[in-house]
């Protein structure tokens, strides 16, 4: 066969001569020695190339066992260590430490697992001994090529960032700010508050959303440790764990934030006497002026000018009554985008969700029949600060006498989203209660399964049942205005199978409410790429481990809070936001992160600039230098998987402790001698 | 005194061959065997390859005439994928192919076969090579030779990717269009080549035609065989290297038949002898009757001499003039004198140069329309070109994914193999008497061989290799009597 011309990476550094290997075979009491002929393995090891010392001991992990290694190293008998004992997942750290204590690199060490992989799983003693020899030979051959590596760490910037100013972001920001960290809170909208700010009441306790949210919002505003950036978004993230550089763009609101006092005189004096344009905060149910504030408690309490609808921006001809009304001269129609660049050690993503677009399910008639509403619209109708002052009245101004609420719109439906959105059952019950309370209407709920797993949720369900809401189990086939009886004339008819009664029912109602599910934000993929994390199949951000690392991501230093990770209700969101904040604090407070030793690296001279590796890295750890046409691994970001190394077509990419040469040597070792 | 003479191998040819001469008790040559001792098996390992890789794979049959294999393979792919290249692509292919004919013929004349004449068959060995040629004609002209070759090879590199093992051929066209700048270089190169051709023809006149000793050698019976000839001709029965119909004429010069490439199996057969790895082609229409010439033997020849014999003229003026001079010198076609091949080669060189110039001047040559994308399922394809050393057939069958299931390759020297065997036999019989032979004599035996510019690398798709020329003389019991090393 052809052999490589040369292999720089495999050339062992030899500050003190060539490799001299010590092999230590552990009895592990009888765990190993009861099956494997330890003496035979030691004798065999002594014959292997570069082996200077071969010993056995009853428990290598004990202090005297470790002392054997340290002493041989200190005596200069050896400069490499192989321990044949249990799994490296058990004691690799132990023996690395011992090797380091002996005065060399902790990575001049290799372990052969002759307990988990040999003595415990092999019936025949001779076969077990042979296999143990093979594994020892592999380790010996490999360790001779181990490089001298120092353990490395990187320091962590104490400042943190929270992206998204909904309840999750607010809670995380306050938690960290209270712990004394400086928090940059970035919100895309002109105010923080998120979806929760739109709700009237929250389930199951029916306490007023504004009452519990608003104080937190103003706390954010006034907290000395929080820099609040609204109407702003993150445009780039560079750097790595503990040292991110984030660039934030501030969009112009044409009002100088520091000068605006929130008196709203300008809105009053706008040349438009009435609101004329669809009010986004009210889901288009109300009208706003070109200069507006989304809702009275908006934080910061600063007005926004919408250049799309403002006459001055559109025609350049307007008496500017708003400017006239402002006592602080806060207007600046020349305002441009501005940018800030900050360095932070950790980032909490709390970018939230969007609701399912009900028009995608045409059978429910949303957009066709004016009296079909989404749940979020009804939230606004029920909100005292909403377009109808809290009265759930129809578009023609009448009160509904009967209301149908359809569950699982866009959820648990293979056509749209297979998952359960978790919150719809409970908020539908809440809406049923509120509608009934305010209008006295008959309320019909059409559900597939009633999911009430939460503290106080089942009790809440019972309450609503008692109130006389009609619960019909079955998926709704369609909403139609085709009447087949006089009773249905002029109303909407919900046609559904009642699976409990086994009949198809037609329920005429005045108002239909679609309980739309929760979906990832439409720009979740861009955000994912921005922060180098991943999305699951449904598009929500993926946590590092669903059970053991639910708020971490595969990018160290980036944490998840709230519904951006998956649908969840307010209690869970707040709990998770607290957890994310705690994890971020733990990292930032420690002040440093340990770096993987087995990182990849690229031999620049051998790199052809083919870029094969760059896109393969799941962590964005490889940057391509366009000037020099070379790829380079950022070893702080690298997690040491070696995907790039396996792919590198010219062997320029290698992985510490897993170089090609080391693995080839191990392959030969496990095969060649036994 | 009887015995055996083994010439192993013959130098200055591309490939590997050995000549085994049996001498009888009267000291006369009994029989000469031309053995080709190697084989590579391209037809076998072509199986399973992607059809579109064949032009590049088969070019490795021979690094001297890689373009011929590349082009034959490419044309086979056209047929295989049932696709016609756009006119510009066809013209580019032919133009590049002409460039190849120019440089290959020049290579042979000045580096390989030519030194026999230019320097002289009995000159010292250290001079019978390109350096000797340079010594004879002068360094300036030597540099001219090298310079032209460099220019033409440069054009091929640019147009085909690489001159040695080109890459530009694809079913339905070529991979790269010709830029106006490159076109201009082709035009200039063609002009140089025509001049160079004239010069070479004059050199031949001066050195060979005017030298009675050489002409006696050329016309001697030892180098004369009356066989059939085969070559590609255009619709006017003029020589064409890239395309056309195959025409076969008999020893008397009359047309035996013409056929299209895809009918080759009806007319061309291969005869196997157990003592050589080369296969011997013959005309099925006549049949295999052994190693003999004449109208009743299916033995035929290809390559420059054969091509001139089957054609009724050349398609370009200067070449036509040279062709007429060639014909009249030998008293009309067909010319059966093997050594006249060297002259025929120069006539072709001029023809290729002129044709290249014509194509380069065609405005369509720079067209971007160089590909027709195949849409049909590949099945079977046959392609032919005239390689410098003669007719070259490629024939592939594939599965529906276009993977080769069968490849048949009949290469130039194979067509000639039987006639070459005849030539060597006849030359040895005429020149060798007894086993007491000298080196110059053996070189003259080799000349019979070298005139064909045979490429046994091609012919056996063998791994060509050169061995020393060692002449072993054995008695009838096989005992070594004497060994001649040609030093």
């Amino acid at each position: 066969m052809r052999e490589p011309e040369r292999d720089r990476a495999s050339r062992p550094p030899s500050p003190n001569g060539g490799p001299r290997i010590g092999v230590y075979v552990c009895h592990c009491g009888l765990n190993i020695a009861g099956k494997v002929d330890v003496q035979a393995v030691v004798d065999f090891a002594a014959t292997l190339p570069n082996v200077a010392v071969a010993r056995d001991y009853r428990f290598m992990c004990s202090d005297p066992g470790q002392d054997l290694i340290e002493q041989d190293l200190r005596d200069g008998l050896i400069n490499r260590v192989v321990v044949a004992s249990c799994s490296p997942l058990m004691h690799e750290a132990t023996f690395r430490r011992a090797t380091a204590e002996g005065g060399t690199s902790p990575f001049h060490f290799q372990m052969a697992s002759i307990r988990e992989h040999v003595s415990w799983v092999t019936a025949d003693a001779d076969e077990a001994t042979e296999k143990a020899k093979a594994l020892v030979a592999g380790a010996v051959r490999r360790v001779a090529l181990h490089e001298y590596l120092e353990p490395r760490q990187a320091s962590v910037n104490a400042d943190v960032m929270v992206v998204g100013g909904g309840i999750a972001g607010i809670h995380a920001a306050l938690t960290m700010a209270d712990a004394g960290k400086h928090v940059f809170l970035v919100e895309r909208e002109s105010t923080i508050g998120g979806h929760m700010a739109k709700f009237d009441k929250t389930f199951p306790t029916l306490d007023c959303a504004a009452c519990i949210l608003t104080p937190k919002m103003s706390q954010v505003r006034s907290h000395p440790n929080i820099t609040l950036w609204t109407y702003s978004d993150v445009v780039s993230v560079e750097g790595y764990t503990g040292d991110f550089t984030v660039r934030v763009r501030h969009r112009p609101r044409y009002v100088i934030e520091e000068l605006c006092t929130g008196c709203f005189e300008c809105i009053e004096k706008c040349i438009h006497k009435q609101g004329k344009f669809d009010d986004e905060f009210n889901e288009g149910l109300g009208k706003r002026k070109p200069i507006y504030i989304p809702f009275p408690q908006a934080t910061p309490s600063v007005v926004v000018v919408d250049p799309e609808t403002c006459i001055w921006f559109k025609t350049g001809k307007c008496p500017q009554t708003c400017v006239e009304a402002c006592e602080r001269d806060a207007f600046d129609f020349e305002q441009q985008e501005t940018f800030d660049e900050v360095k932070v050690g950790a980032i909490v993503l709390a970018t939230g969700f969007k609701t399912f677009d009900a028009a995608r399910a045409p059978e429910y008639g949303y957009g066709t029949y004016p009296n079909v509403y989404t749940s979020l619209e009804v939230e606004r109708l029920l909100n005292a600060a909403g377009p109808t002052g809290g009265e759930p009245i129809l578009r023609d101004g009448t009160r509904p006498r009967s209301v149908g609420i359809i569950h699982c719109v866009g959820s648990r439906d293979e056509r749209y989203n297979a998952y359960c959105s978790r919150v719809c059952c409970m908020y539908s019950l809440k809406l049923a209660h509120l509608v009934k309370e305010r209008t006295g209407a008959e309320v019909y709920e059409f559900y597939i399964d009633m999911r009430a797993a939460g503290k106080g949720y089942e009790e809440f369900y019972d309450e609503i049942l008692k109130e006389g809401t009609h619960l019909i189990r079955g998926r709704v086939a369609e909403v139609t205005d085709e009447a087949i009886s006089p009773e249905e004339e002029g109303r909407l008819v919900i046609r559904a199978e009642d699976t409990l009664m086994g009949v198809v029912r037609r329920i005429p109602v005045d108002m239909v409410v679609l309980a739309v599910g929760l979906e990832p934000q439409s720009d979740a993929q861009e955000v994912r790429r921005l922060f180098n994390i991943s999305c699951g199949g449904e598009g929500f951000f993926t946590e590092r481990h669903p059970k053991l690392a639910p708020v971490s991501t595969f990018t160290d230093g980036v944490f998840l809070a709230g519904a951006c990770q998956g649908p969840k209700d307010i209690p869970d969101t707040v709990a998770q936001a607290g957890a994310a904040a705690a994890e971020a604090l733990a990292m930032v407070d420690r002040g440093y992160v340990m770096l993987e030793a087995n990182t990849a690296f690229i031999d620049e001279a051998a790199c052809s600039g083919c870029k094969t590796c760059v896109g393969l890295c799941p962590f964005g750890a490889i940057a391509f230098d366009e000037e020099r046409k070379k790829a380079a691994v950022n070893e702080v970001v690298c997690k040491g998987c070696g995907i790039c190394v396996g792919a590198c077509p010219s062997g320029a990419a290698q992985q510490h402790l897993f170089t090609d040469a080391q693995i080839f040597a191990e392959i030969e070792g496990v095969l060649e001698y036994v | 005194m009887s015995g055996e003479i083994l010439i192993d191998p013959i130098t200055r040819l591309e490939g590997h061959g050995r000549i085994h001469i049996f001498v009888n008790d009267e000291g006369a040559v009994d029989r000469v065997y031309l053995q080709i001792p190697e084989l590579r098996g391209f037809e076998k390992f072509a199986q399973g390859r992607r059809a579109e890789d064949m032009p590049q794979i088969t070019s490795r049959i021979c690094g001297v005439c890689p373009m011929a294999h590349h082009m034959a393979g490419t044309k086979t792919l056209d047929d295989l994928y049932h696709v016609d290249p756009p006119p510009a692509a066809t013209k580019i292919r032919e133009m590049v192919y002409d460039a190849f004919m120019i440089e290959d013929h020049a290579l042979h004349f000045f580096f390989l076969g030519g030194p026999d004449f230019v320097v002289g068959p009995t000159a010292p060995k250290a001079q019978r090579n390109i350096l000797g040629v340079i010594g004879k004609v002068g360094l300036e002209i030597g540099k001219e030779v090298i310079g032209l070759r460099k220019e033409i090879r440069g054009l091929m590199n640019e147009a085909a990717g690489k001159a040695i093992h080109p890459v530009f051929g694809l079913p339905g066209g070529v991979s790269k269009q010709v830029s106006p700048e490159l076109r201009d270089r082709f035009v200039a190169g063609a002009a140089h080549a025509v001049e160079f051709g004239r010069f070479s023809l004059q050199l031949f006149r001066d050195v060979v035609l005017s030298n009675q000793a050489y002409m006696d050698l050329v016309l001697s019976d030892a180098y004369t065989h009356r066989t059939y000839y085969m070559g590609l001709v255009d619709e006017g029965n003029r020589t064409n290297f890239y395309d056309g119909r195959l025409r076969v004429v008999g020893p008397d010069g009359t047309e035996l038949l013409t056929f299209a490439a895809n009918e080759y199996l009806d007319h061309v057969g291969e005869h196997v002898e157990p003592w050589s790895y080369i296969k011997f082609c013959f005309l099925k229409d006549i049949g295999w009757t052994g190693f003999e010439d004449g109208p009743d033997s299916g033995v035929y020849a290809v390559a420059p001499l054969a091509r001139l014999n089957v054609s009724e003229g050349m398609s370009t003026p200067v070449a036509q003039e040279a062709y007429e001079e060639f014909s009249s010198t030998f008293g009309g076609r067909p010319v059966h004198h093997t050594l006249a091949t060297h002259w025929a080669r120069l006539v072709e060189l001029v023809n290729a140069a002129e044709r290249m110039g014509e194509l380069a001047a065609d405005p369509e040559i720079t067209s971007p329309e160089i590909r027709t994308i195949p849409t049909e399922t590949p099945t079977e394809g046959i392609g032919v070109v005239e390689a410098p050393r003669g007719t070259l057939f490629h024939h592939y069958r594939t599965d529906e994914r276009g993977l080769i299931t069968s490849a048949n390759l009949i290469v130039a020297t194979q067509n000639n193999a039987a006639r070459i065997a005849l030539s060597v036999d006849k030359a040895a019989k005429a020149l060798v008497h007894g086993t007491d032979v000298d080196e110059g004599l053996l070189n003259e035996v080799e000349m019979a061989f070298r005139a064909y510019d045979p490429c046994f690398g091609c012919a056996t798709h063998a791994l060509p290799g050169e061995m020393p020329l060692i002449v072993e003389i054995r008695d009838p019991r096989g005992e070594l009597v004497r060994e001649i090393r040609r030093d």
Binding site: G646, P649 | G15, L170, W275, S276, L463
Partner: protein, 352 residues
Amino acid sequence: MSRPKVAFYWCASCGGCEEAVVDLNEAILDVVEAVDIAFWPVAMDFKVSDVEALADGELAAAFVNGAVRTSEQREMAELLRRKAGAVVAFGACAWLGGIPGLANLSTRESILQQVYRDLPSVQDGDGATPHEEVEVPEGRLHLPRFDDDVRTLDQVIDVDYYLPGCPPPPELIAKAVTALVEGTLPEKGSVLAPDVALCAECPRVDSKPEDLKLQRFHRPYEIVADPERCLLAQGLVCLGPATRAGCGAVCVAANMPCTGCMGPTGRVIDHGAKALSAIASLIEPREPKGVAGLAEELVDPVGTFYRYSLPASLLHGRVGRNGGRSRTERDGEEGAPATAEPAGAARRGGSA
């Protein structure tokens, strides 16, 4: 000053390497000035006896092209090894086995059967095939045995340097000769070409995206390739990322993908496997069916990835094609002394 003596020799090659030397053009006159060519069968009439007459090591260098498939070639290689201070494996065949090395996919018997029996133009009749020893009326004729496999030069003799390419680019040949004359040859075992992959000198590299993923592989005849953009990015299997630079990316300049004739870079043991790894990593689908679909589009992986290097590859050829020889016989094979300890480290250049 005496000029260094050199020999050019061909084993199992096509003659393209010889042509490449001729393609030095006028520089060949300089070469002739600088060195004393003691042996070059294709172009000069010097004989083997001239070589045999030399003292051991008298040749400064022997440039040997072609792979090895017969005993004559082996003997010739061994002779040149004795006579030459440095042996240069010249070209892809000598270094890696080359395209004829694909014959290691077949048995010698099946090759003979195909060539002399099965092909459609072969005359029906007595079914003759060539034999190593044949009786003819006048006496007995011999043919050398067609070996079981194609070997690289360094599987037969110790090789000092490698000149890559099919054929080697003239610039690299000229550089090698210059280094020889000037005594600046690098350490033994070096490949006399840049130790970096072709992308480094490919003019299209800037158009290669950093996150290239392929939904399908195209075959060269299926598309009209954009003459400016990276061919891999267009779905053509280009081995440029896995293949040594030094050729000037001439195939790519002709708008055709690199097929790997310059061999692997210095730290790759098996050209085909490494190229395969890089190309497979570009597959976009991640689920088994989609991945298998793209794998199927690589209809001839051996011919694609091992086009020039099958005999040098880790498996050397198709496994078991020559019957029951077991792996362990390899140590007993001619010309292959067992390496000393530490075997792997030494062979992989890892020893101190």
